[in-house]
Symmetry: C2
Amino acid sequence: MLALGVACGAAPAALSAPPLVTPASVLAAAPDADWTTIDPHDLLVIDLAGGGRVVILLADSFAPVHVGNIRKLAAAHWYDGLAIERVQDNYVVQWGDPDGKKALPAGLTNPAPAEYDRPAEGLPFPLLPYPDPYAKAVGVSGGLPVGEDGGRAWLTHCYGMVGVGRDLNPDTGTGAELYAVIGTPPRALDRNIAVVGRVLRGMELLAALPRGTADLGFYAKPEQRTEIIRIRIATDLPAADQPHMQVLRETSASFRAWIQAKANRQDTFFVRPAGALDVCNAMPPVRGAGRVGM
Amino acid sequence: MLALGVACGAAPAALSAPPLVTPASVLAAAPDADWTTIDPHDLLVIDLAGGGRVVILLADSFAPVHVGNIRKLAAAHWYDGLAIERVQDNYVVQWGDPDGKKALPAGLTNPAPAEYDRPAEGLPFPLLPYPDPYAKAVGVSGGLPVGEDGGRAWLTHCYGMVGVGRDLNPDTGTGAELYAVIGTPPRALDRNIAVVGRVLRGMELLAALPRGTADLGFYAKPEQRTEIIRIRIATDLPAADQPHMQVLRETSASFRAWIQAKANRQDTFFVRPAGALDVCNAMPPVRGAGRVGM
Protein backbone atom coordinates (compact mmCIF):
# COMPACT_ATOMS: atom_id res chain seq x y z
CA MET A 1 0.00 0.00 0.00
CA LEU A 2 2.82 2.39 0.78
CA ALA A 3 4.35 1.52 -2.57
CA LEU A 4 1.13 2.57 -4.23
CA GLY A 5 1.20 5.86 -2.34
CA VAL A 6 4.69 6.65 -3.53
CA ALA A 7 3.77 5.79 -7.09
CA CYS A 8 0.81 8.18 -6.99
CA GLY A 9 2.77 11.16 -5.70
CA ALA A 10 6.17 10.41 -7.15
CA ALA A 11 7.37 13.94 -7.81
CA PRO A 12 11.16 14.23 -7.42
CA ALA A 13 10.74 16.54 -4.43
CA ALA A 14 8.62 13.93 -2.65
CA LEU A 15 11.35 11.36 -3.03
CA SER A 16 13.77 13.51 -1.01
CA ALA A 17 11.25 14.28 1.72
CA PRO A 18 12.03 12.76 5.12
CA PRO A 19 10.52 9.31 5.56
CA LEU A 20 7.16 9.14 7.30
CA VAL A 21 7.27 8.39 11.01
CA THR A 22 4.78 5.61 11.63
CA PRO A 23 4.19 3.24 14.54
CA ALA A 24 5.83 0.51 12.44
CA SER A 25 8.85 2.62 11.56
CA VAL A 26 9.35 3.60 15.20
CA LEU A 27 9.33 -0.05 16.27
CA ALA A 28 11.68 -1.06 13.47
CA ALA A 29 14.16 1.60 14.57
CA ALA A 30 13.89 0.98 18.34
CA PRO A 31 17.29 -0.03 19.71
CA ASP A 32 17.55 -3.25 21.70
CA ALA A 33 18.20 -1.14 24.80
CA ASP A 34 14.62 0.19 24.62
CA TRP A 35 13.20 -3.32 25.00
CA THR A 36 12.99 -4.82 28.48
CA THR A 37 13.23 -8.57 28.89
CA ILE A 38 10.32 -9.84 30.95
CA ASP A 39 11.33 -11.98 33.91
CA PRO A 40 10.29 -15.50 32.87
CA HIS A 41 9.01 -16.03 36.41
CA ASP A 42 6.30 -13.51 35.46
CA LEU A 43 5.14 -15.42 32.37
CA LEU A 44 2.21 -17.80 32.74
CA VAL A 45 1.98 -20.28 29.86
CA ILE A 46 -1.26 -22.00 28.92
CA ASP A 47 -1.04 -24.94 26.53
CA LEU A 48 -4.38 -25.83 24.98
CA ALA A 49 -5.60 -29.02 23.39
CA GLY A 50 -4.77 -28.78 19.70
CA GLY A 51 -1.35 -27.26 20.28
CA GLY A 52 -2.25 -23.63 20.87
CA ARG A 53 -0.31 -21.62 23.43
CA VAL A 54 -1.27 -18.50 25.37
CA VAL A 55 1.38 -16.46 27.20
CA ILE A 56 0.32 -14.09 29.99
CA LEU A 57 2.36 -11.44 31.80
CA LEU A 58 1.47 -11.62 35.50
CA ALA A 59 0.99 -8.36 37.38
CA ASP A 60 2.54 -8.98 40.79
CA SER A 61 2.70 -5.27 41.51
CA PHE A 62 -1.08 -4.88 41.30
CA ALA A 63 -2.53 -8.10 42.69
CA PRO A 64 0.26 -9.89 44.55
CA VAL A 65 -1.95 -12.20 46.59
CA HIS A 66 -4.06 -13.32 43.63
CA VAL A 67 -0.96 -13.75 41.49
CA GLY A 68 0.63 -15.71 44.32
CA ASN A 69 -2.38 -18.01 44.31
CA ILE A 70 -2.09 -18.46 40.54
CA ARG A 71 1.58 -19.38 40.90
CA LYS A 72 0.67 -21.97 43.52
CA LEU A 73 -2.14 -23.38 41.38
CA ALA A 74 0.26 -23.67 38.43
CA ALA A 75 2.99 -25.24 40.56
CA ALA A 76 0.49 -27.79 41.86
CA HIS A 77 -0.57 -28.56 38.25
CA TRP A 78 -4.08 -27.80 39.46
CA TYR A 79 -5.27 -26.26 36.20
CA ASP A 80 -4.16 -29.24 34.08
CA GLY A 81 -7.07 -31.05 32.50
CA LEU A 82 -9.52 -28.22 33.20
CA ALA A 83 -11.10 -26.23 30.39
CA ILE A 84 -12.17 -23.05 28.72
CA GLU A 85 -15.80 -23.13 29.72
CA ARG A 86 -17.22 -19.73 28.76
CA VAL A 87 -16.92 -17.49 25.70
CA GLN A 88 -19.29 -14.53 25.75
CA ASP A 89 -19.12 -12.43 22.62
CA ASN A 90 -17.79 -8.90 23.04
CA TYR A 91 -16.95 -9.65 26.65
CA VAL A 92 -14.77 -12.43 28.05
CA VAL A 93 -13.27 -15.89 27.62
CA GLN A 94 -13.14 -17.72 30.95
CA TRP A 95 -11.29 -20.85 32.02
CA GLY A 96 -11.08 -22.92 35.17
CA ASP A 97 -13.04 -25.74 36.74
CA PRO A 98 -16.40 -25.89 34.96
CA ASP A 99 -17.96 -28.07 37.62
CA GLY A 100 -16.41 -26.23 40.54
CA LYS A 101 -15.64 -29.54 42.19
CA LYS A 102 -11.87 -29.83 42.07
CA ALA A 103 -10.31 -29.37 45.50
CA LEU A 104 -7.91 -26.45 45.70
CA PRO A 105 -4.32 -27.15 46.73
CA ALA A 106 -3.11 -26.21 50.18
CA GLY A 107 -1.47 -22.87 50.77
CA LEU A 108 -3.79 -20.57 48.84
CA THR A 109 -4.94 -17.32 50.38
CA ASN A 110 -8.67 -17.87 50.36
CA PRO A 111 -10.45 -15.56 50.45
CA ALA A 112 -7.92 -13.22 48.87
CA PRO A 113 -8.07 -9.53 49.76
CA ALA A 114 -9.81 -7.13 47.37
CA GLU A 115 -6.80 -6.17 45.28
CA TYR A 116 -8.78 -3.87 43.03
CA ASP A 117 -6.39 -0.94 43.15
CA ARG A 118 -3.16 0.11 44.84
CA PRO A 119 -1.34 3.30 45.79
CA ALA A 120 -0.34 5.28 42.73
CA GLU A 121 2.80 6.29 44.59
CA GLY A 122 5.78 4.35 43.34
CA LEU A 123 4.24 4.00 39.90
CA PRO A 124 5.71 6.88 37.92
CA PHE A 125 3.94 5.71 34.84
CA PRO A 126 4.02 7.96 31.78
CA LEU A 127 0.65 9.59 31.58
CA LEU A 128 -1.20 9.88 28.30
CA PRO A 129 -2.08 13.54 27.80
CA TYR A 130 -5.62 12.75 26.66
CA PRO A 131 -8.87 12.50 28.61
CA ASP A 132 -10.37 9.20 29.68
CA PRO A 133 -14.02 8.69 30.63
CA TYR A 134 -13.26 6.51 33.62
CA ALA A 135 -10.08 7.81 35.24
CA LYS A 136 -8.52 11.11 36.15
CA ALA A 137 -5.42 10.01 34.28
CA VAL A 138 -4.31 6.96 32.33
CA GLY A 139 -0.90 5.64 31.43
CA VAL A 140 1.27 2.57 31.23
CA SER A 141 3.37 0.81 33.86
CA GLY A 142 5.41 -2.36 33.50
CA GLY A 143 3.87 -3.09 30.12
CA LEU A 144 0.34 -2.75 31.50
CA PRO A 145 -2.44 -0.17 31.04
CA VAL A 146 -3.20 1.81 34.18
CA GLY A 147 -5.82 4.26 35.42
CA GLU A 148 -5.26 6.69 38.26
CA ASP A 149 -7.42 8.83 40.48
CA GLY A 150 -7.14 10.19 43.99
CA GLY A 151 -3.76 8.63 44.64
CA ARG A 152 -4.91 5.14 43.66
CA ALA A 153 -3.94 3.20 40.53
CA TRP A 154 -5.50 0.18 38.87
CA LEU A 155 -5.16 -1.99 35.78
CA THR A 156 -7.74 -1.11 33.14
CA HIS A 157 -9.94 -3.68 31.41
CA CYS A 158 -8.55 -3.61 27.87
CA TYR A 159 -8.69 -6.30 25.19
CA GLY A 160 -6.40 -9.09 26.34
CA MET A 161 -6.31 -8.14 30.01
CA VAL A 162 -6.78 -11.01 32.45
CA GLY A 163 -8.86 -10.90 35.60
CA VAL A 164 -9.97 -13.21 38.39
CA GLY A 165 -13.49 -14.53 38.15
CA ARG A 166 -15.45 -14.10 41.32
CA ASP A 167 -18.96 -14.43 42.65
CA LEU A 168 -20.67 -11.64 44.55
CA ASN A 169 -19.06 -9.27 46.98
CA PRO A 170 -17.35 -9.83 49.38
CA ASP A 171 -15.99 -12.96 47.65
CA THR A 172 -12.97 -11.87 45.63
CA GLY A 173 -12.05 -15.09 43.88
CA THR A 174 -8.87 -17.10 44.33
CA GLY A 175 -7.30 -17.26 40.87
CA ALA A 176 -8.80 -20.65 40.12
CA GLU A 177 -11.14 -19.00 37.58
CA LEU A 178 -9.56 -16.56 35.15
CA TYR A 179 -10.89 -14.59 32.20
CA ALA A 180 -9.51 -12.53 29.34
CA VAL A 181 -11.29 -9.61 27.70
CA ILE A 182 -12.23 -10.28 24.04
CA GLY A 183 -14.23 -7.21 23.04
CA THR A 184 -15.03 -3.62 23.86
CA PRO A 185 -13.02 -2.72 26.96
CA PRO A 186 -15.50 -3.39 29.81
CA ARG A 187 -14.13 -0.53 31.84
CA ALA A 188 -17.07 -0.64 34.25
CA LEU A 189 -15.29 -3.67 35.75
CA ASP A 190 -12.24 -1.57 36.66
CA ARG A 191 -11.75 -1.50 40.43
CA ASN A 192 -14.43 -4.15 40.86
CA ILE A 193 -12.30 -7.17 40.27
CA ALA A 194 -8.68 -8.25 40.65
CA VAL A 195 -6.84 -7.81 37.35
CA VAL A 196 -3.81 -10.07 37.30
CA GLY A 197 -2.16 -9.78 33.91
CA ARG A 198 -2.10 -9.28 30.17
CA VAL A 199 -2.16 -11.83 27.39
CA LEU A 200 1.02 -11.20 25.38
CA ARG A 201 0.52 -14.00 22.86
CA GLY A 202 -2.35 -16.21 21.81
CA MET A 203 -5.28 -13.80 21.98
CA GLU A 204 -6.14 -14.86 18.41
CA LEU A 205 -6.80 -18.35 19.80
CA LEU A 206 -8.97 -17.28 22.73
CA ALA A 207 -10.94 -14.66 20.80
CA ALA A 208 -11.73 -17.01 17.91
CA LEU A 209 -13.34 -19.70 20.05
CA PRO A 210 -17.00 -20.40 19.34
CA ARG A 211 -19.30 -18.42 21.61
CA GLY A 212 -21.17 -20.35 24.26
CA THR A 213 -24.94 -20.42 23.95
CA ALA A 214 -25.93 -20.87 27.60
CA ASP A 215 -26.36 -17.97 30.04
CA LEU A 216 -23.33 -15.64 30.21
CA GLY A 217 -21.73 -17.45 27.27
CA PHE A 218 -21.06 -20.72 29.10
CA TYR A 219 -20.97 -23.71 26.79
CA ALA A 220 -24.21 -25.65 26.84
CA LYS A 221 -22.41 -28.98 26.40
CA PRO A 222 -19.17 -30.15 28.05
CA GLU A 223 -17.79 -31.35 24.72
CA GLN A 224 -17.81 -27.77 23.42
CA ARG A 225 -15.14 -26.78 25.91
CA THR A 226 -11.47 -26.50 25.03
CA GLU A 227 -9.25 -28.59 27.26
CA ILE A 228 -6.31 -27.03 29.07
CA ILE A 229 -3.37 -29.40 28.76
CA ARG A 230 -1.23 -27.51 31.25
CA ILE A 231 -0.64 -24.13 32.81
CA ARG A 232 2.88 -23.39 34.02
CA ILE A 233 5.16 -20.55 34.99
CA ALA A 234 7.60 -20.32 32.06
CA THR A 235 10.60 -21.33 34.19
CA ASP A 236 8.91 -24.61 35.05
CA LEU A 237 8.87 -25.67 31.39
CA PRO A 238 11.77 -27.50 29.71
CA ALA A 239 14.30 -24.91 28.52
CA ALA A 240 13.63 -25.54 24.84
CA ASP A 241 9.91 -25.01 25.40
CA GLN A 242 10.15 -21.72 27.27
CA PRO A 243 8.92 -18.47 25.76
CA HIS A 244 11.12 -15.41 26.02
CA MET A 245 9.37 -12.06 25.76
CA GLN A 246 10.37 -8.43 25.65
CA VAL A 247 8.23 -5.33 26.05
CA LEU A 248 8.96 -1.84 24.77
CA ARG A 249 9.92 -0.01 27.94
CA GLU A 250 7.48 2.81 28.61
CA THR A 251 10.20 5.13 29.86
CA SER A 252 12.15 4.80 26.60
CA ALA A 253 12.38 7.36 23.82
CA SER A 254 11.05 4.74 21.43
CA PHE A 255 7.87 4.28 23.46
CA ARG A 256 7.29 8.02 23.55
CA ALA A 257 7.83 8.20 19.79
CA TRP A 258 5.50 5.24 19.27
CA ILE A 259 2.74 6.93 21.27
CA GLN A 260 3.25 10.12 19.28
CA ALA A 261 3.11 8.21 15.99
CA LYS A 262 -0.05 6.36 17.06
CA ALA A 263 -1.81 9.55 18.17
CA ASN A 264 -0.76 11.51 15.08
CA ARG A 265 -0.73 9.03 12.24
CA GLN A 266 1.41 10.14 9.30
CA ASP A 267 0.92 6.89 7.39
CA THR A 268 -0.25 7.62 3.87
CA PHE A 269 -3.63 6.00 4.56
CA PHE A 270 -4.66 8.58 7.14
CA VAL A 271 -6.21 11.83 5.97
CA ARG A 272 -7.01 13.15 9.46
CA PRO A 273 -4.79 12.07 12.37
CA ALA A 274 -6.80 11.66 15.56
CA GLY A 275 -4.52 13.80 17.69
CA ALA A 276 -5.28 11.52 20.63
CA LEU A 277 -4.89 7.98 21.90
CA ASP A 278 -6.82 5.96 24.46
CA VAL A 279 -5.19 3.75 27.04
CA CYS A 280 -6.30 0.48 25.44
CA ASN A 281 -4.66 1.48 22.16
CA ALA A 282 -1.47 2.44 24.02
CA MET A 283 -0.50 -0.94 25.43
CA PRO A 284 3.24 -1.35 24.85
CA PRO A 285 4.29 -3.62 21.99
CA VAL A 286 5.89 -6.94 22.83
CA ARG A 287 8.18 -9.24 20.91
CA GLY A 288 9.15 -12.80 21.58
CA ALA A 289 11.48 -15.66 20.99
CA GLY A 290 11.34 -19.33 21.83
CA ARG A 291 7.96 -21.02 21.74
CA VAL A 292 5.73 -17.98 22.14
CA GLY A 293 2.75 -19.23 20.19
CA MET A 294 1.42 -22.10 18.14
CA MET B 1 -26.13 -14.71 41.26
CA LEU B 2 -28.70 -12.17 42.43
CA ALA B 3 -30.41 -14.92 44.37
CA LEU B 4 -27.17 -15.61 46.17
CA GLY B 5 -26.85 -11.93 47.02
CA VAL B 6 -30.30 -11.82 48.54
CA ALA B 7 -29.61 -14.97 50.53
CA CYS B 8 -26.44 -13.49 51.99
CA GLY B 9 -28.06 -10.27 53.15
CA ALA B 10 -31.59 -11.47 53.78
CA ALA B 11 -32.52 -9.26 56.69
CA PRO B 12 -36.25 -8.43 56.70
CA ALA B 13 -35.47 -4.76 56.07
CA ALA B 14 -33.52 -5.64 52.96
CA LEU B 15 -36.50 -7.52 51.56
CA SER B 16 -38.61 -4.40 51.58
CA ALA B 17 -35.94 -2.19 50.00
CA PRO B 18 -36.70 -0.91 46.50
CA PRO B 19 -35.45 -3.25 43.79
CA LEU B 20 -32.06 -2.47 42.29
CA VAL B 21 -32.13 -0.51 39.06
CA THR B 22 -29.87 -2.36 36.65
CA PRO B 23 -29.40 -2.18 32.87
CA ALA B 24 -31.34 -5.44 32.63
CA SER B 25 -34.20 -4.22 34.82
CA VAL B 26 -34.49 -1.01 32.80
CA LEU B 27 -34.75 -2.96 29.56
CA ALA B 28 -37.26 -5.38 31.02
CA ALA B 29 -39.45 -2.46 32.08
CA ALA B 30 -39.11 -0.40 28.88
CA PRO B 31 -42.56 0.09 27.30
CA ASP B 32 -43.01 -0.89 23.68
CA ALA B 33 -43.36 2.80 22.84
CA ASP B 34 -39.69 3.33 23.73
CA TRP B 35 -38.59 0.87 21.06
CA THR B 36 -38.40 2.10 17.48
CA THR B 37 -38.96 -0.34 14.65
CA ILE B 38 -36.11 -0.13 12.18
CA ASP B 39 -37.22 0.38 8.59
CA PRO B 40 -36.52 -3.00 6.95
CA HIS B 41 -35.18 -1.10 3.93
CA ASP B 42 -32.28 -0.14 6.22
CA LEU B 43 -31.40 -3.71 7.17
CA LEU B 44 -28.70 -5.49 5.19
CA VAL B 45 -28.79 -9.26 5.63
CA ILE B 46 -25.73 -11.46 5.05
CA ASP B 47 -26.30 -15.20 4.83
CA LEU B 48 -23.10 -17.19 5.27
CA ALA B 49 -22.22 -20.71 4.26
CA GLY B 50 -23.16 -22.96 7.14
CA GLY B 51 -26.40 -21.14 7.88
CA GLY B 52 -25.17 -18.15 9.85
CA ARG B 53 -26.86 -14.79 9.41
CA VAL B 54 -25.54 -11.28 10.05
CA VAL B 55 -27.94 -8.31 10.16
CA ILE B 56 -26.58 -4.79 9.66
CA LEU B 57 -28.30 -1.44 10.18
CA LEU B 58 -27.30 0.85 7.32
CA ALA B 59 -26.47 4.46 8.11
CA ASP B 60 -27.96 6.44 5.23
CA SER B 61 -27.74 9.66 7.19
CA PHE B 62 -23.97 9.47 7.50
CA ALA B 63 -22.76 7.93 4.25
CA PRO B 64 -25.64 8.11 1.76
CA VAL B 65 -23.57 7.59 -1.39
CA HIS B 66 -21.68 4.60 -0.03
CA VAL B 67 -24.88 3.11 1.38
CA GLY B 68 -26.53 3.73 -2.00
CA ASN B 69 -23.75 1.75 -3.63
CA ILE B 70 -24.21 -1.08 -1.14
CA ARG B 71 -27.94 -1.19 -1.90
CA LYS B 72 -27.18 -1.41 -5.63
CA LEU B 73 -24.58 -4.14 -5.09
CA ALA B 74 -27.08 -6.12 -3.03
CA ALA B 75 -29.88 -5.59 -5.55
CA ALA B 76 -27.57 -6.82 -8.32
CA HIS B 77 -26.71 -9.91 -6.21
CA TRP B 78 -23.12 -8.84 -6.73
CA TYR B 79 -21.88 -10.03 -3.33
CA ASP B 80 -23.33 -13.52 -3.74
CA GLY B 81 -20.63 -16.19 -3.89
CA LEU B 82 -17.94 -13.86 -2.59
CA ALA B 83 -16.28 -14.42 0.78
CA ILE B 84 -14.98 -13.31 4.13
CA GLU B 85 -11.34 -13.03 3.20
CA ARG B 86 -9.66 -11.32 6.14
CA VAL B 87 -9.85 -11.72 9.93
CA GLN B 88 -7.23 -9.72 11.80
CA ASP B 89 -7.33 -10.28 15.54
CA ASN B 90 -8.33 -7.31 17.67
CA TYR B 91 -9.09 -5.32 14.52
CA VAL B 92 -11.47 -6.23 11.69
CA VAL B 93 -13.29 -8.92 9.72
CA GLN B 94 -13.47 -7.99 6.04
CA TRP B 95 -15.54 -9.39 3.20
CA GLY B 96 -15.85 -8.79 -0.51
CA ASP B 97 -14.10 -9.98 -3.66
CA PRO B 98 -10.81 -11.57 -2.55
CA ASP B 99 -9.38 -11.52 -6.04
CA GLY B 100 -10.64 -8.07 -6.91
CA LYS B 101 -11.68 -9.31 -10.33
CA LYS B 102 -15.46 -9.28 -10.29
CA ALA B 103 -16.85 -6.49 -12.44
CA LEU B 104 -18.96 -3.98 -10.54
CA PRO B 105 -22.56 -3.48 -11.65
CA ALA B 106 -23.57 -0.37 -13.54
CA GLY B 107 -24.87 2.64 -11.66
CA LEU B 108 -22.43 2.83 -8.75
CA THR B 109 -20.95 6.14 -7.76
CA ASN B 110 -17.25 5.38 -8.23
CA PRO B 111 -15.28 6.97 -6.77
CA ALA B 112 -17.65 7.84 -3.95
CA PRO B 113 -17.16 11.13 -2.12
CA ALA B 114 -15.28 11.13 1.17
CA GLU B 115 -18.26 10.69 3.50
CA TYR B 116 -16.14 10.69 6.62
CA ASP B 117 -18.25 13.13 8.58
CA ARG B 118 -21.33 15.30 8.19
CA PRO B 119 -22.82 18.46 9.69
CA ALA B 120 -23.74 17.93 13.32
CA GLU B 121 -26.72 20.20 12.72
CA GLY B 122 -29.90 18.21 12.45
CA LEU B 123 -28.51 15.48 14.70
CA PRO B 124 -29.80 16.38 18.15
CA PHE B 125 -28.24 13.28 19.57
CA PRO B 126 -28.23 12.89 23.34
CA LEU B 127 -24.74 13.66 24.47
CA LEU B 128 -22.98 11.50 27.02
CA PRO B 129 -21.80 13.77 29.84
CA TYR B 130 -18.39 12.09 30.01
CA PRO B 131 -15.09 12.94 28.30
CA ASP B 132 -13.86 11.11 25.22
CA PRO B 133 -10.23 11.06 24.07
CA TYR B 134 -11.08 11.54 20.39
CA ALA B 135 -14.08 13.85 20.18
CA LYS B 136 -15.29 17.03 21.79
CA ALA B 137 -18.54 15.24 22.55
CA VAL B 138 -20.00 11.80 22.00
CA GLY B 139 -23.54 10.53 21.86
CA VAL B 140 -25.98 8.34 20.02
CA SER B 141 -28.13 9.00 16.98
CA GLY B 142 -30.45 6.62 15.17
CA GLY B 143 -29.10 3.68 17.13
CA LEU B 144 -25.53 4.54 16.21
CA PRO B 145 -22.53 5.88 18.19
CA VAL B 146 -21.50 9.37 17.18
CA GLY B 147 -18.63 11.76 17.81
CA GLU B 148 -18.88 15.53 17.37
CA ASP B 149 -16.44 18.41 17.11
CA GLY B 150 -16.49 21.78 15.44
CA GLY B 151 -19.97 21.39 14.06
CA ARG B 152 -19.17 18.06 12.38
CA ALA B 153 -20.41 14.61 13.41
CA TRP B 154 -19.20 11.14 12.54
CA LEU B 155 -19.84 7.49 13.38
CA THR B 156 -17.28 6.13 15.83
CA HIS B 157 -15.38 2.88 15.28
CA CYS B 158 -16.87 0.66 17.99
CA TYR B 159 -17.08 -3.12 18.17
CA GLY B 160 -19.56 -4.18 15.48
CA MET B 161 -19.45 -1.00 13.44
CA VAL B 162 -19.15 -1.50 9.69
CA GLY B 163 -16.96 0.53 7.34
CA VAL B 164 -15.99 0.61 3.69
CA GLY B 165 -12.60 -0.85 2.85
CA ARG B 166 -10.52 1.44 0.73
CA ASP B 167 -7.00 1.80 -0.57
CA LEU B 168 -5.03 5.00 -0.19
CA ASN B 169 -6.39 8.50 -0.35
CA PRO B 170 -8.01 9.83 -2.48
CA ASP B 171 -9.68 6.47 -3.20
CA THR B 172 -12.65 6.20 -0.87
CA GLY B 173 -13.90 2.73 -1.71
CA THR B 174 -17.22 1.85 -3.26
CA GLY B 175 -18.91 -0.46 -0.76
CA ALA B 176 -17.73 -3.59 -2.55
CA GLU B 177 -15.35 -4.29 0.35
CA LEU B 178 -16.79 -4.00 3.85
CA TYR B 179 -15.39 -4.66 7.30
CA ALA B 180 -16.68 -4.97 10.84
CA VAL B 181 -14.69 -4.10 13.97
CA ILE B 182 -13.95 -7.13 16.19
CA GLY B 183 -11.69 -5.74 18.93
CA THR B 184 -10.57 -2.63 20.72
CA PRO B 185 -12.37 0.30 19.10
CA PRO B 186 -9.88 1.52 16.46
CA ARG B 187 -10.92 5.10 16.93
CA ALA B 188 -7.92 6.40 14.98
CA LEU B 189 -9.91 5.34 11.90
CA ASP B 190 -12.72 7.77 12.75
CA ARG B 191 -13.10 10.40 10.03
CA ASN B 192 -10.63 8.51 7.82
CA ILE B 193 -13.05 6.08 6.30
CA ALA B 194 -16.73 5.87 5.44
CA VAL B 195 -18.64 4.14 8.22
CA VAL B 196 -21.85 2.72 6.86
CA GLY B 197 -23.57 0.80 9.60
CA ARG B 198 -23.72 -1.34 12.69
CA VAL B 199 -23.99 -5.10 13.02
CA LEU B 200 -27.17 -5.73 15.03
CA ARG B 201 -27.01 -9.52 14.99
CA GLY B 202 -24.40 -12.10 14.16
CA MET B 203 -21.26 -10.49 15.57
CA GLU B 204 -20.61 -13.72 17.45
CA LEU B 205 -20.22 -15.42 14.06
CA LEU B 206 -17.86 -12.87 12.56
CA ALA B 207 -15.73 -12.42 15.66
CA ALA B 208 -15.25 -16.16 16.19
CA LEU B 209 -13.82 -16.84 12.73
CA PRO B 210 -10.25 -18.15 12.64
CA ARG B 211 -7.73 -15.37 12.23
CA GLY B 212 -5.93 -15.18 8.90
CA THR B 213 -2.19 -15.74 8.95
CA ALA B 214 -1.12 -13.70 5.92
CA ASP B 215 -0.36 -9.97 6.07
CA LEU B 216 -3.16 -7.89 7.62
CA GLY B 217 -5.00 -11.06 8.62
CA PHE B 218 -5.92 -12.15 5.11
CA TYR B 219 -6.35 -15.89 4.78
CA ALA B 220 -3.29 -17.56 3.31
CA LYS B 221 -5.39 -20.14 1.47
CA PRO B 222 -8.66 -19.58 -0.41
CA GLU B 223 -10.26 -22.60 1.25
CA GLN B 224 -9.97 -20.87 4.64
CA ARG B 225 -12.44 -18.21 3.58
CA THR B 226 -16.13 -18.27 4.55
CA GLU B 227 -18.43 -18.09 1.57
CA ILE B 228 -21.14 -15.47 1.39
CA ILE B 229 -24.29 -17.16 0.13
CA ARG B 230 -26.19 -13.91 -0.37
CA ILE B 231 -26.42 -10.32 0.76
CA ARG B 232 -29.83 -8.65 0.50
CA ILE B 233 -31.78 -5.72 1.78
CA ALA B 234 -34.31 -7.31 4.19
CA THR B 235 -37.29 -6.34 2.06
CA ASP B 236 -35.88 -8.33 -0.87
CA LEU B 237 -36.07 -11.57 1.12
CA PRO B 238 -39.18 -13.78 1.21
CA ALA B 239 -41.49 -12.46 3.94
CA ALA B 240 -41.01 -15.49 6.20
CA ASP B 241 -37.24 -15.04 6.02
CA GLN B 242 -37.13 -11.35 6.87
CA PRO B 243 -35.67 -10.09 10.13
CA HIS B 244 -37.58 -7.47 12.09
CA MET B 245 -35.54 -5.33 14.45
CA GLN B 246 -36.21 -2.67 17.03
CA VAL B 247 -33.79 -0.33 18.75
CA LEU B 248 -34.25 1.43 22.08
CA ARG B 249 -34.92 5.01 21.00
CA GLU B 250 -32.21 7.30 22.32
CA THR B 251 -34.68 10.08 23.06
CA SER B 252 -36.76 7.81 25.30
CA ALA B 253 -36.85 7.84 29.08
CA SER B 254 -35.85 4.19 29.03
CA PHE B 255 -32.67 4.94 27.11
CA ARG B 256 -31.74 7.69 29.55
CA ALA B 257 -32.40 5.34 32.47
CA TRP B 258 -30.36 2.60 30.79
CA ILE B 259 -27.39 4.94 30.34
CA GLN B 260 -27.68 5.99 33.98
CA ALA B 261 -27.84 2.37 35.12
CA LYS B 262 -24.82 1.44 32.96
CA ALA B 263 -22.75 4.36 34.23
CA ASN B 264 -23.73 3.81 37.88
CA ARG B 265 -24.06 0.08 38.31
CA GLN B 266 -26.21 -0.89 41.26
CA ASP B 267 -26.07 -4.60 40.48
CA THR B 268 -24.97 -6.56 43.53
CA PHE B 269 -21.73 -7.59 41.81
CA PHE B 270 -20.40 -4.05 41.62
CA VAL B 271 -18.60 -2.59 44.62
CA ARG B 272 -17.57 0.66 42.92
CA PRO B 273 -19.75 2.04 40.12
CA ALA B 274 -17.68 3.71 37.41
CA GLY B 275 -19.68 6.93 37.37
CA ALA B 276 -19.02 7.16 33.64
CA LEU B 277 -19.71 5.46 30.32
CA ASP B 278 -17.86 5.53 27.02
CA VAL B 279 -19.59 5.79 23.68
CA CYS B 280 -18.83 2.22 22.62
CA ASN B 281 -20.50 0.89 25.77
CA ALA B 282 -23.51 3.14 25.15
CA MET B 283 -24.74 1.69 21.86
CA PRO B 284 -28.50 1.34 22.16
CA PRO B 285 -29.86 -2.16 22.76
CA VAL B 286 -31.72 -3.88 19.95
CA ARG B 287 -34.26 -6.66 19.89
CA GLY B 288 -35.51 -8.74 17.04
CA ALA B 289 -38.12 -11.02 15.62
CA GLY B 290 -38.29 -13.15 12.53
CA ARG B 291 -35.09 -14.77 11.33
CA VAL B 292 -32.58 -12.45 13.00
CA GLY B 293 -29.80 -14.98 13.47
CA MET B 294 -28.81 -18.58 13.13
